[in-house]
Amino acid sequence: MSLTGLKKHVRVLEEANLVTTAKRGRSRYCRLEPKGFDEAGFWLEEFRRGWADRFDRLEQIIERRKGESSER
């Protein structure tokens, strides 16, 4: 990967608050930001739970209807 390419990647991670960088002398140090990861993971997990909850109810309806059709 070229240095320019690498810089681009780091910038994207920085904008997403997943890393922070600091320049020391001629070098730029990158640091992972666990808080950023948590935030993205948190909302996605909440979203997943919402759907898991719906699908649990869908499953209940399906089970009920399976019972009904076997009685016929």
């Binding site: 909302w43 996605l44 909440e46 979203f47 739970r49 909850d53 699908f55 869908l58 309806i61 399906i62």
Partner: protein
């Protein structure tokens, strides 16, 4: 993990910056899973977030048909969703342009629901939503509109506790 638990697992992925995909396997033939999407009375029983009442105002389940439904809570807050069915191919595919009432209005997402016959009496339900931008996708995920925030803050509290907040 037992097979049973695995089967019930709801998986979420983000295949690209503008998509969300949710998958789950049901121990039922495809026709039965389809019925729960096609019949608005059945849909009302599962699609709304917990603690909200769902009311269908229109549900014209065919290509080009429109729909409109409302989730409401005890305090009279209402969340209105509407859209158009782009494809309805029984028993395997539903594609819809999905919108919610919002000020200012936001462009619809394209939601694809695929019912995959696993050949052993089970059905894999694969739903994916495609948004016009990453911001819209992330906005929906974070709005709480679809998730536990609207379902009740109790759940959110539990989660925060587990995350040590």
């Amino acid at each position: 993990m037992s097979d049973d638990t695995k089967q019930r697992e709801t998986e979420i992925t983000t295949p690209s910056d503008t998509e969300i995909r949710i998958e789950r396997t049901f121990d039922a033939p495809r026709e039965l899973v389809w019925e729960c999407h096609a019949d608005p009375d059945l849909l009302c029983e599962w699609l709304g977030p917990r603690r909200l009442t769902m009311r269908v105002e229109e549900y014209d389940f065919r290509p080009g048909g429109s729909y409109r439904y409302v989730h409401s809570d005890d305090e009279g807050n209402e969340y209105v969703f509407f859209g158009e069915f782009l494809e309805v191919a029984e028993p395997e595919l539903i594609v819809q342009a999905f919108c919610f009432v919002m000020e200012p209005p936001v462009p619809p997402s394209i939601d694809r629901t695929e019912l995959v016959d696993l050949g052993d009496g089970r059905t894999r339900l694969v739903t994916s939503s495609k948004f016009e931008s990453k911001e819209l996708r992330d906005g929906l995920i974070q709005s709480g509109m679809e998730s536990g925030v609207v379902q009740g803050y109790a759940q959110l509290d539990e989660l925060l506790e587990r995350h040590g907040a």
